[in-house]
């Protein structure tokens, strides 16, 4: 559970947790995210606005799916660009990297586990 923050406690626990969880990449993640925002196109702007304007949980789904997949795609391309053979064969570099997708589970069955917990 999250830490209980005292009144005089000015530590940014979220930041510290992110540093720990994504160690040692959190700074890079933030840099890449900032770049992604800075270079966003119209479609992305529209989806960010839709996300901000949502007034119910269900209205979050579509714009979030778009934004999450843009983030995964940006990360994949960024890693591909620094791969050992990036200069020669970009497609091959990307092929070695996982293609992560934000797959909706709110509208379809989720399987994968069964039986009693031991």
């Amino acid at each position: 559970m999250p830490q209980q923050k005292q009144d005089d406690d000015i530590r940014d626990y979220f930041e510290e947790n992110c540093i720990s969880i994504f160690f040692p990449n959190w700074a890079s993640c933030k840099d890449l995210a900032a770049t992604l925002i800075a270079t966003s196109d119209d479609e992305m702007e529209v989806n960010i606005q839709k996300y901000r304007d949502a007034s119910s949980e269900r209205q979050l789904y579509m714009p979030f799916k778009y934004l999450a997949n843009r983030a995964f795609k940006a990360a994949r391309h960024a890693l591909g660009a620094v791969g050992p053979d990036a200069r020669r064969d970009r497609e091959a570099d990307l092929a070695d990297l996982p293609n992560l997708l934000a797959v909706p589970a709110h509208d379809r069955p989720l399987l994968g586990c069964a039986g009693e917990r031991k």
Binding site: M1, P2, Q3, K5, D12, Y13, F14, N17, C18, S20, I21, F22, N25, W26, S28, C29, K30, L32, A33, A34, L36, I37, Y51, R52, A54, S56, E57, Y61, F64, K65, L67, A68, R70, A71, F72, A74, A75, R76, L94, L97, P98, N99, L100, L101, A102, V103, P104, A105, H106, R108, P109, L110, L111, G112, C113, A114, G115, E116, R117, K118
Partner: protein, 404 residues
């Protein structure tokens, strides 16, 4: 709670390039689970329950979770999602990061086999790039997956391995929801580096494939079993059938499914993530041309000071004891205590009796089952007790004969 279930809203998972998102979603493939809330839902802390009377098939995941309390907080839900997915993924995943997104607020949940950590909530309404950064972090963690357990590599294709394309066929890994809500799902094959017994200084790749042999024993009706046994005359039931009989779960005409029944519906028994995460798979050594050698790869987290089964097997093999599997290779391939997160957890919870230091090692052992399958023995204590029992009975027999 019938007809109701809760589930994460999104699952971050690997999908082949240009392939469509799978349906149903398989928690075993999840890199991260993402739960979305809206403020009025979170403030009252009611669980997010979806009415599933829409006709979509039910899932085992649903039953597992909905059987518990309906008064879960959002934190408990996202933790449960992560735990269940991590447990199902077996030893190929060491940790999972899940996201709880409450419109413009974000919390991260990190779970591994030793515990979990929930971050503070962060309001990103002024800087939405934090949401992107977290998602990018999830991606990078996924890429680094092999780096956390560097000797276990999840494979994407058969090229350069002795495996066949069918071992990677997603169709074979599709989950089928049936009356038993069973799962017939071989793992995505993995490569593990081990030291062969023939030359311990060397490293050899082992390719593991198929279903986890530690899946729950499943009663199988006689007809289906006969069909399989005709194809595989060497098929045998596991010795722990006796345990199943005692539990009265094995009805008349049923047998226990073995790995030869891997194509049939099976129940997956997730090991408690706070336990050893024991998993066994069929495997083939690098350089071997075919899979006829009946080798098994065991991956298990064990206390560092526990004697490895590999030592017991090695001694038994050297002593020429009949019926003991032949040790092919072994290696300690990862430490539980090697991560930054672990250090952080220890610092955070220092002094609490309930938080104990985790000092475990991930051991890989390869054996060839020439005789009694080692899978009938749960741990080294059972194995030693077995030997002791044999010696005692032999001693009694000798004494009786001497008295005669």
């Amino acid at each position: 709670m019938n007809g109701m279930l809760l589930r994460p809203d999104f699952v971050a998972m690997r999908v082949r390039q240009r392939a469509e998102a799978p349906s149903p979603v398989d928690a075993t493939d999840a890199s991260s689970m993402i739960e979305m809330k809206f403020d009025h839902v979170v403030k009252g802390n009611p669980p997010k329950l979806h009415d599933f009377s829409s006709g979509l098939p039910s899932s085992a995941f649903e039953r597992e979770i909905s059987s518990k309390t309906s008064k879960w907080t959002a934190h408990e839900q996202i933790l449960e999602y992560g735990c269940v997915a991590l447990s199902a993924q077996g030893p190929s995943s060491q940790s999972i990061v899940d996201l709880l997104v409450t419109h413009m607020r974000l919390q991260l949940n990190y779970t591994d086999r030793a515990g979990c950590m929930m971050s503070d909530e962060h309001n990103f309404s002024n800087d939405i790039s934090i949401l992107f950064a977290a998602l990018i972090g999830v991606y990078i963690l996924d890429v680094q997956h092999a780096g956390r357990q560097p000797e276990i590599t999840r494979l994407c294709e058969s090229h350069g391995t002795p495996l066949t394309t069918s071992d990677f066929d997603p169709a074979d890994r599709a989950v089928t929801a049936g009356a038993t809500a069973g799962i017939s799902r071989p793992i995505a094959p993995v490569k593990v580096m081990i030291h062969p017994e023939s030359n311990p200084a060397e490293q050899v790749a082992v390719y593991a494939y198929g279903a986890n042999l530690m899946e729950c024993l499943m009663p199988l009706d006689g007809t289906a079993a006969q069909q399989v046994c005709k194809k595989n005359p060497r098929a045998r039931t596991r010795p722990s059938i006796a345990g199943l009989r005692k539990s009265k779960r094995l009805d008349k005409g049923q047998v226990v499914a073995t790995k030869r029944h891997a194509n049939l519906l099976r129940r997956f028994a997730p090991r408690c993530i706070f336990g050893s995460g024991l998993a066994r798979y069929s495997c083939i050594l690098e350089g071997d041309a075919e899979k006829s050698n009946e080798m098994t790869l065991q991956l298990s987290w064990q206390p560092k000071d526990r004697v490895s089964e590999s030592l017991v097997l090695r001694l038994a093999n050297e002593a020429g004891i009949h019926g003991v599997p032949t040790l092919v290779g072994s290696r300690d391939i990862a430490n539980m205590d090697d991560g930054h997160i672990r250090s952080r957890l220890r610092e955070t919870f220092q002094g609490l009796d309930s938080i104990r230091r985790v000092d475990k090692v991930l051991r890989a052992i390869i054996w060839r089952e020439d005789g009694i399958p080692l899978s009938s023995v749960n741990n080294i204590i059972d194995l030693l007790c077995g030997f002791e029992s044999i010696l005692r009975s032999m001693s009694k027999s000798t004494s009786t004969c001497a008295e005669c």
